[in-house]
Amino acid sequence: MNSRYEVVIGLEVHVQLTTRSKIFCGCSTAFGQLPNSQTCPVCLGLPGALPVLNRQVVEYAIKAGLATNSQIAPRSIFARKNYFYPDLPKGYQISQFELPICEHGWLDIETRDLGRKRVGITRIHMEEDAGKLLHNDSYSSAVDLNRACTPLLEVVSEPDMRSADEAIAYLKQLHQIVVYLGVCDGNMEEGSFRCDANVSIRPWGQETLGTRAELKNLNSFRFIKQAIEYEVERQIDVIEDGGEVVQETRLYDADNGITRSMRGKEEAHDYRYFPDPDLLPLQVSDTWIDEVRSRLPELPAAKLQRYQEEFGLPEYDAGVLSADRAVAEYFEAVVSLFEQPKTCSNWVMGEILGALKEKNLTIDQCPVTPELLAGILKRIDDNTISGKIAKTVFEEIWITGKNADQIIDEKGLKQVTDSGAIESIVADVIAANPDQVAEYRGGKEKLMGFFVGQVMQASKGKANPGMANQLLKKKLSE
């Protein structure tokens, strides 16, 4: 942190929605198709074509609004933002300007250095995406309009963040929420979650904001952090050298880790917003809002709290399990079948997430279902197998998809709980290790672990460790 300047950051995030069809026409939103194959008169901006609003987009906007503590406007309108660009087929973008669907929201973020803090969300509005420009050769560019008219939410924050870390914390939380809600796939590489950052600096204590630069082309959290940090240093240098920061758009150049002024776009914009006469005002009733609210999933922050309060999990466990909706749902499914949350947490965080990471799979692809995992945990709990054998069982289930009982049966992994059988192994172990027995009896009680290990080894892991322990104690003290 610079001692002389305060950093001020506001973020504009474009969230691409996971609807099947585009916002104003029935073309598919699927990614990676043949250029211009997913277009129609509406999204090509052909003469005479008219937009019709996809209801699902409104639902998703309401969801995002509710999840970010925003007020949902009872009446909102679509506006045209007029400018010429080859990837913008109609020469205007249908967006919202005055009267967006959501306003006055907030998110609480937490950073290690600064603790908890509330970041304001100015507005969330619906709009259509532009197409893609492919830079063909030195004379021409190619236009692919498959992405044109794809639904976006633009989430505009207040300039409330004071460091790149805060910006990242905010973005990660927003990312987590929209993915949790199922309104966005969160894929930053494919551009499903894109961020522009408005960055300025001002001397500490100054009330008015400094001149800001708008940073674009930030397609990973890492780049966002790097770009902001670079830009802050750049602005400090400019000011320290007696210069003035210019209000401009700057592109982040990831290869060189710098931001660069976008030349050629300097011409002052005048977007000439006005209400789109082709689209009717949108009215969202309280009934509609309540209905969407009732279908809202529990959000990560609420889960985090509930896992600690209801399940008694440590904050760390609760954080890991609630971070991803699918993981949380998996975990909750296991708990519903085996009501020892901490044991479930240990297994999900340890075995399950570990194995998934190793094999580069997502939780939806996990061959060990919550039912299968709960099956293992029950057999540990009723002493059929030991925790150690359980790991063998887990690996078998992963490969075969069979349930725990089948595998225990087939492989003969049932724990030995017959005290006679264990007693005889214990006797053998004592007989085979006279030196250690003498040491133990001489007061070196730490050796109990050694004896248990020997018993477990002799029983191929099947002896009940508790019983082995008990019997050993008894025999050794005789």
Partner: protein
């Protein structure tokens, strides 16, 4: 064969009885077009081959006793309607080569009812004009006097129907573009209520004002055409989902007991004396037929043209941004880069009037002027609509002139855009209010030029207009007069 004085209903009966065939009817239309269009220039594109194929299909259907409201009836549409695989130019050089991949809903509906599309009609470029002189395809001539304009922007539609080139046509009306040419050409033209007919596939001029409507020789034909095209279209968010009555029903209900209002602001200085006389005579006819005539006031009439030219041009400036030479249309590129390509394409592709309106509209929306011009105009629009709603609390219909004068000479107003704009003073308020209105022939001037009267109805009360118009038509013989065109 001449059919220029035969109604669609009569033609339908003859077609069904086999007295005539769709092929013969279509061929005779095409012949009439070929014989007269060198003088009129009403058509931009003829689709002879498609028309003859469609006529053969229609004859088949008629022989099998099938078909819709318009099976076998040759029609044409203003070149503002997208027609799949038939060139759609909108009267502009910028779309000179444009072949649409889709049909406008109104065209689909006509074809679903069996109508035969014989061609695309001339118009003012992008529907901007009141004289049909602003067309890349050249001016249209009035069939009653070839030295005069037919009115605009649907000048081709009105001229073609008046000259018997087709039985009926579709036009669009943003500030009078159906009614004013209908008046100048002595035919019936209806601008339905905004939202009554789908705008999908109709090239937009001013989206909150544009509306599709029929141009016909008679009121009955108008009712039939409206029945074919009216109704909700899920592809047009602004089309209204309310029931469409059968407009042919009760056409002869008469006007007994109806209250007709005469807005005093429409009968003022500047109105041509012959127009005034013809309209007053129409009023007398209605009085005789049992209508009650009352004077009403639409106090904001004088502000309508100003409000209209700000709103319409603002919307147009945005609607016409898509003509950028990227995806369709004629591109002009001098190799100076992207912005150069845009500027060349648009400057060479658009005509003067279109450029003028784009400029005015861009200005009205631009930073610092939005509130003073665009927003102000929208507020005044509210006042104008309220004038009409207030009047309709008292009366069933309003009766006014359509245009201050009969058709003027070609070239007379070309260098005075403001004067040209002011000639739409009686038609523009209806578009701003969003309601429906018809132009109905009501006289001929001493020079033999048609004069029209405007009947304005409550929103979605097209049936009221049609009944009143039908009553007048029965009581007069203007329908029988045809232009002296050979």
């Amino acid at each position: 064969m001449s059919f220029s004085n035969i109604s669609i209903s009569q033609l339908r009966r003859q077609l069904l009885k086999g007295e005539i065939t769709a092929i013969a009817l279509t061929r005779s239309c095409l012949e009439r077009i070929k014989a007269t269009d060198a003088q009129l220039n009403a058509f931009i594109t003829l689709c002879e081959e498609q028309a003859m194929t469609a006529a053969a299909v229609a004859d088949q259907q008629l022989a099998n006793g099938q078909g819709g409201l318009l099976t076998g009836i040759p029609v044409a549409v203003k070149d503002i309607f997208n027609t799949r695989d038939v060139r759609t130019t909108c009267g502009s050089k910028i779309l000179a080569n444009y072949v649409s991949p889709y049909d406008a809903t109104a065209v689909t509906r006509l074809q679903d009812e069996g109508a035969i599309l014989v061609g695309k009609l001339n118009m003012d470029e992008f529907a901007m004009g009141s004289s049909n002189e602003n067309s890349a395809a050249g001016a249209v001539h009035n069939p009653w006097d070839l030295s005069r304009v037919p009115g605009g922007s649907s000048g081709g539609s009105a001229a073609a129907v008046a000259a018997g080139q087709v039985v009926a046509a579709l036009g669009t009306d943003t500030g009078g573009s159906i009614r004013q040419p209908a008046s100048h050409c002595g035919v019936v033209g209806l601008k339905p209520t905004y939202g009554r007919v789908s705008r999908y596939g109709v090239i937009a001029y001013a989206s909150s004002l544009d509306q599709v409507g029929p141009v016909t020789r008679s009121v009955e034909d108008c009712a039939l055409m409206l029945s074919a095209i009216a109704g909700y279209d899920p592809a047009d968010s602004t089309s209204v989902d309310c029931p469409v009555p059968d407009y042919m029903d009760n056409l002869n209900a008469g006007v007994g007991g109806k209250k007709i209002g005469l807005p005093k602001e429409y009968f003022v200085a500047g109105l041509d004396p012959e127009v005034k006389l013809a309209v007053e005579a129409t009023v007398e006819t209605y009085r005789r037929m049992g209508a009650e005539i009352v004077e009403v006031s639409l106090p904001h009439t004088d502000y309508a043209v100003a409000s209209y030219y700000l709103i319409a041009t603002a919307e147009a400036s945005s609607n016409l941004a898509r003509y950028d030479g990227v995806r369709f249309g004629v591109r002009e590129d001098d190799g100076s880069g992207l912005i150069g390509m845009y500027q060349q394409t648009r400057s060479k592709g658009f005509g003067d009037e279109v450029k003028r309106r784009i400029m005015l509209g861009t200005y009205a929306l631009s930073s610092g002027y939005y509130d003073a011009y665009y927003l102000k105009a929208q507020k005044v629009r509210t006042l104008i609509r309220q004038d009409f709603l207030n009047a309709f609390d008292r009366v069933d219909l309003l009766l006014t002139p359509v245009a201050p004068t009969p058709a003027f000479k070609i070239g007379a107003l070309m260098n005075d855009p403001l004067h040209m704009y002011l000639s739409d003073i009686f038609t523009i308020p209806v578009n701003l209010a969003g309601t429906c209105a018809m132009s109905l022939p009501c006289g001929l001037s001493r020079e033999g030029l048609p004069i029209g009267v405007q009947l304005i109805g409550r929103p979605f009360a097209e049936a009221d207009i049609l009944q009143a118009a039908y009553a007048y038509e029965q009581a007069s013989d203007w329908k029988e007069r045809t232009p002296p065109l050979r």
